[in-house]
Symmetry: C3
Subunit: 100 residues, 3 copies
């Protein structure tokens, strides 16, 4: 099966930021995303209390450039204010033209 | 910890295809899968409207052969008709004999 | 964007073990986790019947040491008794100091 490597970005965030997060993700260049409702507990320290309760788990398949742009936005606008966790993994994608 | 590399296949699809998707996944050789309810937005273009709303996020750990067979089925029977996104990642699995 | 590689551990388990699983995960050294409700079907064979129905999907970002310690606990205390599936993938993490 023909596949191409893209970047899978996963973000765990408080549910209240969903609308804003999706807007900023689209502005960074993503064309699609999937959100699951989640719960959990954050790291020890700052804002751990805010992280318990209702969260969302968002994932999006993007190019390395879009991933980097989105992570920069997260680091600048979200990390100082919200309990947000973000990571990337390498994904082999069918029909990569849908995402870039 | 002893682990073995398998292929983690993740599929995002409209909720209406769940029953059929699971049947076809089993026929391709998967012995187990996990499904979470999800919502999201697809890529710009064909069927993007269908992709908003109720989705499922399915994942299954399989051998490279089963992954390839399942992706071929998706490409042939689902991509032309449904809003389906599929990708694979490499996973290190405990107790790999359960999956192959 | 500055990232560091950590281990993403994903566990699928019966919902009834959630409380115990989270306690053991914390004891193994994890500082945070995310849980989504899930459903699914396990591998053929032992306890497959128990695996259908209400499951949870837990994920946690940890160091390789913590991942190994947690997988050992799963193998020793959970695999013989519960329908548990566990795998790891490599993840590039922003703000890795939150997890280690």
């Amino acid at each position: 099966m023909q596949t191409e490597q893209l970047v899978l970005v996963t973000v765990i965030a408080e549910a209240v930021v969903e609308h804003r997060l999706v807007r900023d993700l689209g502005a960074a260049g993503s064309h699609g995303w999937t959100i699951c409702d989640a719960r959990g507990q954050g790291s020890r320290g700052v804002r751990a209390d805010e992280f318990e309760g209702s969260n969302i788990r968002l994932e999006t398949l993007v190019s390395a450039e879009v991933a980097d742009r989105f992570l920069e936005v997260l680091a600048r606008d979200y990390f100082p204010r919200y309990a947000v966790v973000a990571w990337t993994t390498a994904a082999q994608v069918v029909r990569p033209e849908k995402y870039i």
